[in-house]
Symmetry: C3
Subunit: 441 residues, 3 copies
């Protein structure tokens, strides 16, 4: 927040550096690519706990699937040349492809190929988690140039009982109330979606660990999308429903073209209100989506009966940028400034939640600000902008509004009011007004 | 709803045929014209019960008036020619005219004549139910051409204790909750206002009788306007307040120029919401009126303390079309297509009310649609429009909304969601969520 | 309200006459100028009670300051000429200036001068109530023309323990519920701000005293701004919280350029609703301010914990006209018509509050208006505008709305509905529907 620019630049570079390191790992919803990713994150967050959930474990309406690992995959032409080579880009193999080692004609092979005619240079990202099949993904231009010959097709994968891996970090605060940050680990070499989310979430956790105090507890969750979030919820739902007051699904936070907001299902949670507040003041041209545009783990966190207050702040939203789910979503799409911008917005969200409380003025009628040096003593010395804000803040502190609500009413960024509230508290003119329902904070 | 077009054409013709048959009967708020009309309807609805309420019966602030019948009425000129002849058009006599048989000058006669200078070819429709007088209604052009001579004036009417006649048909459903359909029988040869309402209401009852099952009970009421509705309410109010969840005043449903909606007094009843929903999706250019524009029996059904949830779906609303309350509102104004359109809208309203219920998803987090064949197994096979609707439907089924509320939230016609809800219920993924207040359904 | 024009003209002149009489008195937050003003008002309101509160008395966060009086003040040049003379305009001395009698250079003197470079002919209005200093206010053109010579500077003032003076008039009504009218007495020769308020408030009290009956009790308060309102509240808050249902801070009600409305803190009190209703119908082009634009005693009346329902109806609002707080706010700015317009709006507000009550129709269904002579007996005699209003009024009287709420719903001035409601009450068709919370009236 208040870091000098030098350090900020450094943070932007650190964010991008982490993106570069974990971009190449062959992630899927299970397997060693996820473990490798979490171990890299653990180097920055040593307290991260890595959990393994055995295949076959039930999770609400779902079952943890077999674990998938891949060592190599390629297609050889008649000359023995690797015309498709997984080692060059792990998007080349349909995720969860069953093993294959066979010779076949182009015609047979083509039935297992996926490409994007409208983006002929892009390799698409395709998965088949719950139906056993195999396939390769290629640029459409490459596909149409394949010779009509015999090919040897090899996918050296294993799909067998193992476990689903996820990371979890609880950073305790002074109160049991929790802020949830969840990001997904299952997408392979796709930079904005969602290596960016892994990097931003990691550094948000680091930032919080460096803070001298935290009012709330923070729950960081690194899970494979959908099945991972469902599995995590099946193990932690009761506790989360008791404690989580706001949450953010961190995804697509790496490019620098726009800011996006996607609401929680109910749309009026603290997470929604604080994210809208921060975006309105920092990036008023942000794109606002509704819950009907959802597509990531808010689908689970906000599902009926789960009902956690989870919203998303993004840069270019999944599904809404042309490089989405293809090899064009690469390291050139994500920028240090893009990552830093997302980090800053989410930090502001947390700063606001930390400072949010019901406030009540301690005296009846207006306090005499002049004798406390907070107001000019000569009537024609016009009280400045800040004195006006101070008096408006006092007028709003009737115990029925939080500081966030007051900031929204006064149409001021909450971070302008936080130091004023501290000054008035120091003079004994304001006090926190409780207790209120934790949900209303 | 799902009838083939051939049958639909047939229905439109049947509707128009009934209009033609009952158009000529000399109706008023009491008397044999009403009885003749109800007997004709009884041929299509044999279970219709015809009630007689004696003159002098108290009904809230009102008293059932004497019964009025008319056999003939005319004005003879010096030559014995019928210059005004009730047999040619029953609008020629002011309804509830006292008997007269007298000779008089043109000047005397003219004081009893009513015409429309702005519509010089139209015979106006005039009544004097509660003040004893007599009068004739004529085209203004005819009035100005009357010779200055002696006339013989005859109205062969009787106005004496008798009874007020109304029809009632209760079609039982599986539940005691009721849908009210009320239409008025007192207007003589006026086609849109309201022979059309009699025809559409009659065939709505026939349609419901042909259904294999009905969740709700249906109460069809054919009454003279105002005094009839008040009399009916004075006999049935307690029961109706207990059971009626939605009602429609059926009036002016025969021309094909526009659709109109007039809200209930409170404006947010199930009848209002469902009618607005149906019109928004079927005829989005409908004209929306408020309760301040009211003019028919919603005045009684929605009166303070009565408070029944009654709205109106109309074609050209009473008072809002040039032919209103004159001989121009004749059989050429009403069309088979106009009647059919009203019938279809009201049928959709009933279909929506029948299918409306609170819904709740049975699993936590999203259900796994793929293993039920409801979702593609390969990630790049884009889920179609219907899969998106299915998932949005599930996300809305948290037990706090009815299917109508969900359809409004998703901005989809409820009839698109009904089969999806049935599919999900078949898979055990959705259940009705009750009990809720009957009023909220 | 219903006065003939002759008397109205007379009232406008009386209002302006009072303004002329009290304009010259040397008012401040304490001292004899205030007493002189209240005695002049007492000539019109003999029942006005004048209270004295000793210096040093605590009032919430404040203390009543020493009393300030001034007999003379001037600046003599070398020739003995009064180049600044308080007797010419009492704005020439900074209010609460400490005594001084000294010779000094222009340079020394200039450090005690205040002027307005942008309005070089205007003498500014400056106060220093809580910091001891002295000063003179002059037109900027005069200031720049002062010769560089020795000056003798005299302020013959006393600032010593005494008392704060305020006036209070309680006009009893049939009910203990109260309407508060508060205006401030501390501004010296400034006509719109706020000699106008003193005059309009005085004549509003006279008007109410002349009424044969008053439903509510009226509390008139003439206090120095801020410290006076705080002192008054510290003595009367409990009683006022129990009884006050609406209040108005009367200020800047004398010019004739515009009407302004400033809401209470919560914005939805009876005072807000009635003032908006009256302005909307009488002066729809009024300027609407929010509580954030506040600046007078609503700051105290509406403070958190005080929470009285006080709004302001003004002409040109303090701070929003160029002559504000300078010698340009003189008798030429205020007009008889300007004062009368404010008086009329506030009278209408009181008329509406007096007539406001929950209403309920006594019969089920529509009453039969025809037999009571309230509705035409022949159907083609179109019921007029008033009959339509009568029926709409009846349809709204369900016991859940007050007459003000009904008027707003029907978008009619409440004074059109008051006689209709009286007529219906006379026929036994409407009754007041209570009891409701006093606050909701």
């Amino acid at each position: 927040m208040g870091e000098p620019d030098v350090i900020k630049e450094d943070l932007a570079q650190q964010l991008y550096g982490l993106v570069e390191r974990i971009f190449p790992f062959p992630r899927s919803i299970t397997g060693n690519g996820v473990r490798q990713t979490l171990r890299e994150i653990q180097r920055l967050l040593p307290a991260l706990v890595i959990h393994e959930v055995p295949s076959g474990t039930r999770a609400f309406d779902w079952v943890v699937p077999d674990e998938w690992n891949i060592r190599d995959a390629y297609v050889l032409d008649e000359t023995g040349t690797r015309v498709i080579d997984w080692r060059k880009n792990n998007l080349h193999v349909v995720s969860y492809s069953t093993p294959v080692d066979a010779e076949m004609s182009l015609r047979e092979l083509d039935q297992h190929l996926h490409s994007l005619p409208d983006q002929p240079e892009a390799i698409p990202y395709v998965t088949s988690y719950y139906e056993r099949r195999w396939g390769f993904c290629v640029a459409h231009n490459q596909r149409t140039r394949l010779k009509d010959c015999r090919y040897r097709v090899v996918i050296d994968s294993r799909l067998e009982p193992g476990s689903l891996t996820y990371g979890e970090l609880i950073i305790p605060g002074e109160e049991p109330s929790e802020i949830l940050l969840s990001t997904y680990t299952c997408h392979p070499s796709l930079a904005n979606d969602n290596v960016s989310g892994l990097a931003v979430t990691t550094f948000l956790a680091r930032g919080l660990l460096e803070q001298p105090r935290r009012r709330h507890t923070y729950r960081f969750v690194f899970v494979p999308e959908t099945i991972g979030a469902i599995t995590y919820l099946s193990r932690n739902l009761a506790e989360m429903k008791r404690h989580v007051i706001a949450g953010f699904a961190v995804t697509c936070v790496g490019d620098d073209r726009s800011y996006s907001f996607l609401s929680s299902r109910k749309g009026d949670s603290l997470a929604d209100r604080v994210a809208l507040h921060v975006l309105k003041h920092l990036h008023p041209d942000f794109v606002q989506y509704t819950y009907q545009d959802r597509g990531s783990d808010e689908r689970q966190y906000c599902a009926p009966g789960v009902d956690l207050p989870v919203a998303s702040v993004m840069r270019s939203k999944y599904g809404a940028y042309p490089e989405y789910h293809s090899s064009l979503d690469d390291l050139s799409l994500v920028t240090p400034a893009g990552l830093q911008g997302s980090y800053d917005v989410l930090r502001r969200c947390m700063e606001c939640i930390e400072a949010n409380e019901y406030l009540r003025v301690t005296v009846l009628c207006e306090p005499q600000l002049g004798r406390r040096g907070l107001y000019p003593t000569l009537s024609n010395n016009h009280p400045g902008h800040q004195v006006r804000e101070l008096r408006n803040l006092i007028a709003c502190c009737d115990g029925t509004r939080t500081l966030l609500g007051i900031a929204d009413k006064l149409n001021l960024p909450m971070w302008d009011l936080i130091p004023l509230a501290e000054t008035l508290k120091g003079h004994g003119l304001l006090v926190a007004s409780g207790p209120h329902s934790r949900k209303d904070i």
